[in-house]
């Protein structure tokens, strides 16, 4: 059974159609990358999956159950964690509080262990534990956003441009960690501008163009496609 099944999804803001019938499916335990230019509808698709925006048409199934029209907090409780565009950390809360909120739905008894585990993935957050999240560097904020999502122990992780605005070395570190947590069986759907980096870790890829799926296939195949190389990998 697939983790996520999106079919014929349509979504508009005002009069603008952001998604024009997108279908995609995610296999259990895979990393799937969503490629596409700005405005292709990648962020809208993630938001629709996590319930932040309401699609006008189509169907979304999580683990076989239709989640269409559910509020975001209810979708979260199914085991979906969405790290939004721009990280979405709570700047006025401390690192500790951000992590605690990440585990809002977790039993309080488990909290210390879960936070401890998230911190072992990102030791730098440990040093910043009681600082305000707003005072962290961009890379640290991205780590915090990821760690916070992991405290929820999700079954499906949605990542929106985790490498945006980060130094290449930090971006690689983030992707290494994504790879690492995925090994525990977590399914990941990641939107990424840095196609080269993303295709290295991904199992499968979708390419979105102006609200529609242009092509999709195993990451190794997509890497070889000429139009993808030209458009997203900078190969001429």
């Amino acid at each position: 059974m697939s983790v996520l099944e999106v079919s014929e999804l349509e979504l508009s803001y005002g009069g603008i159609r952001a998604l024009k019938g997108v279908s995609l499916s995610l296999e259990e335990g895979q990393i799937t990358v969503l490629l596409g230019a700005n405005g292709a509808g990648k962020t809208s698709l993630l938001k629709a999956i996590s319930g932040l925006v309401k699609p006008s048409k189509g169907e979304i199934k999580l683990w076989g159950e239709s989640s269409l029209g559910w509020p975001a907090y209810r979708i979260t409780s199914l085991g979906v964690a969405h790290v939004p565009e721009g990280r979405g950390i709570f700047a006025g809360l401390s690192v500790r509080e951000n992590l605690q909120i990440g585990g809002f739905l977790a039993p309080s008894k488990e909290m210390p262990a879960r936070i401890e585990q998230a911190l072992t993935l990102f030791p730098r957050l440990k040093e910043r534990y009681s600082q305000l999240a707003g005072s962290l560097s961009g890379g640290e904020q991205q780590m915090l956003a990821l760690a916070r999502a992991l405290v929820a122990r999700p079954r499906l992780l949605l990542l929106d441009e985790p490498s945006l605005g980060l130094a290449p070395i930090i971006a690689q570190e983030i992707f290494r960690t994504i790879r690492q947590v995925h090994q525990t069986g977590l399914s990941v759907l990641v939107v990424e501008q840095n196609a080269r980096l993303a295709l290295q870790v991904a199992d499968y890829a979708y390419v979105l163009k102006t609200g529609e799926v242009e092509t999709h296939g195993p990451a190794s195949e997509i890497r070889g496609l000429e139009q993808v190389s030209k458009a997203y990998l900078g190969v001429t």
């Binding site: 700047a91 809360l93 605690q100 909120i101 809002f104």
Partner: protein, 298 residues
């Protein structure tokens, strides 16, 4: 100016500042989450005061019971208003919320006038609260001391609640970013209802304390203090709970010192001073003393 005059003014400022602070907390919490300026907030204080003035004779045996009961009534009323008037407007333009709160305020004021008439009512007090206690040449009324301690206690409790409990942290998260907090699994209706309940409860507390301090209440007494408490919340940094307390005290002290150190003929202009202060804060430092500077606060 003598030192004792200064200290006396300081104490007066802390007393009135405490009341502003108690009212400002609810305004600030609700604004922080919903971007709603709740004009009806001061009227919850008024309702607690009016009910207190009416019921005291029955309950005079136990002022503490009256105090708690009235605070709870105000809290529950705030909760009900959220449910009836504000919740249907989630996601509507900001202005609609503003207008609704104005309408709710009008209903509460006129409703109380219809029930109790618009004439002032005497607010009974107990000897320990109306007594003046002397410390050297400085005198403090019992009610003012009670007000000050209750306010400080509320500030400490609320700070503990928002920093140390899961619900409290969730409340701050919702106030900072509603969408992201939903992604954490928080159903925002709960923190919103809680903010209304706590804020209204403290407004109710302020209503009883107001009655004890001034000895009388009327159906219109809540509106202007409500507005001033909003000024206090803005000064302290709207959305911030510690900011509401700081802003309340800054405003109370500024107001009392303005009146206390200028010729008596200026005392009528105190509201001009208070609202000019609001102008200045809005223009110079709109994020307030303890608020975070953020584009979306505009």
């Amino acid at each position: 100016m003598s030192a004792s005059y200064f200290i006396q003014q300081l104490i007066n400022g802390l007393a009135i500042g405490s009341l502003y602070a108690l009212v400002a907390v609810g305004l600030s919490m609700v604004y922080g989450i919903l971007r709603l300026i709740n004009f009806a907030h001061g009227d919850l204080m008024m309702i607690a005061g009016m009910l207190g003035a009416t019921l005291f004779l029955w309950l005079s045996k136990s002022p503490l019971f009256l105090f708690v009961a009235l605070a709870l009534v105000a809290g529950l009323l705030g909760l009900a208003l959220e449910r009836i008037a504000y919740r249907p407007l989630r996601g509507a333009p900001e202005v609609n919320l503003l207008i609704t709160s104005f309408a709710v305020s009008s209903i509460l004021q006129v409703g109380m006038q219809m029930i109790f008439s618009s004439s002032p009512r005497r607010f009974e007090t107990v000897a320990a609260l109306s007594k003046l206690y002397s410390f050297g040449s400085v005198q403090i009324r019992g009610a003012d001391m009670a007000t000050f301690f209750i306010t400080i206690l509320s500030a400490l409790l609320l700070t503990w609640f928002t920093r140390r409990t899961r619900t409290g942290i969730a409340m701050r998260a919702v106030s900072e970013n509603l969408d992201t907090s939903m992604l954490m699994g928080i159903n925002p209706s709960r923190p919103i209802a809680l903010a209304f309940f706590i804020g209204s409860l403290l407004a109710g507390v302020a209503g009883v304390l107001w009655g004890w301090k001034y000895g009388q209440v009327d159906p219109l007494f809540g509106f202007l203090p409500g507005l001033k408490a909003f000024v206090a919340a803005v000064i302290g940094g709207i959305g911030s709970i510690p900011g509401a307390f700081v802003g309340g005290y800054v405003l109370g002290l500024a107001e009392v010192f303005f009146v206390g150190f200028l010729p008596p003929s200026f005392s009528g202009y105190r509201d001009v001073f208070v609202f000019s202060l609001l102008f200045i804060v809005l223009l110079v430092k709109p994020q307030g003393i303890l608020g975070q500077s953020k584009g979306r606060r505009a």
